[in-house]
Symmetry: C2
Subunit: 191 residues, 2 copies
């Protein structure tokens, strides 16, 4: 994709989806995220019972340069694996100190964030909320609502994705349903 | 404003406005934009008749660093000065080759763009349209509809604003109403 010429892509404000053939959605099913959930039995049951789609997002094919901005949408479906809500894998940026902006279009969720040093922050996101995720903060989007959780995002195209400790241990905090409400708990892998 | 910690700001998806006291809107009235419109008599009449608000936008007070992203909304009201639609002043980035993303939330308009060398491009924007404005392209938002034209924007916080030739001569193309429709015409100052 040429980053020297202007171009327009339509990301539907309600569905979050893009119909352009220039943009390919990426899909993450329960099987792709099995090891990210604490309850592996629940994950295996979900995979056997149809392997639901947890989220999808768009990545453009722009040059990874510091003067280019990468953008698109992420759409997380409602649901749980065990008591944990559907969520994205989450990542640090390879260029660790680069920031990212998410703008919530629809739904209800939480942006879970942490630094390599163990600082933790999380914010509720509702339609119209824009969050500034600073450099150094890994970030994961979690759908705590009953409808799709859709956000528009922008980051520097050279930022890169680094899964670091996330693939082995996940984030330091989990978001689980208790008595019908989302509750933030300690991830026992980090105890 | 601290760019090392996450923060959330609410930009209403319908009005485009932010109620947070941490963010101050900037207002551009007809009197601020008088010299940008071709028809100075019409501009003076509008100023005398109440000096209408043409647009407002939000600027955060983030450090101007290359790893920080600046974001907010711009809201252009419907109307015309003479036959020219209400529009933003438009700018190059001081770091000329840095890009910007606009995501249309509401209304109907045109993103007018040009390079210092005289390349011209313009794109219609409708709700859900995201535009990639590459580095080197000056950009101006023009409301060609009958309702407010609202966009969410993101750019590198060190990009800066350079009005360059725009303050003297404007953009190479104008968008004017002819027979009730927007038409792109040559700016006579650039002939």
């Amino acid at each position: 994709m040429n980053s020297d010429k202007p171009f327009v892509l339509d990301f539907d404000l309600l569905s979050g989806l893009c119909k352009s053939e220039r943009v390919k959605p990426k899909y993450r099913y329960a099987s792709d995220m099995r090891d990210q959930f604490l309850d592996k039995n629940a994950a295996d049951m979900a995979i056997k019972a149809g392997n639901p789609l947890l989220y999808e997002f768009y990545g453009l094919d722009l040059p990874e340069r510091d003067n280019v901005l990468q953008f698109g949408t992420t759409k997380i479906y409602p649901g749980k694996i065990g008591s944990e809500y559907y969520m994205t894998k989450g990542h640090f940026h390879t260029l660790l100190d680069t920031s990212e902006i998410y703008y919530c279009l629809r739904g209800h969720g939480i942006m879970m964030m942490e630094t390599p040093e163990g600082d933790v922050d999380y914010r509720e996101m509702l339609p119209g909320d824009a969050i500034y995720v600073p450099g150094r903060w890994a970030h994961r989007s979690i759908n705590t609502g009953a409808t799709p959780f859709v956000m528009f995002f922008v980051y520097r195209a050279d930022a890169g994705h680094d899964y670091g400790t996330i693939e082995e241990k996940g984030f330091r905090r989990l978001v689980v349903e208790k008595n019908g409400k989302p509750v933030v708990t300690q991830n026992p892998k980090w105890l």
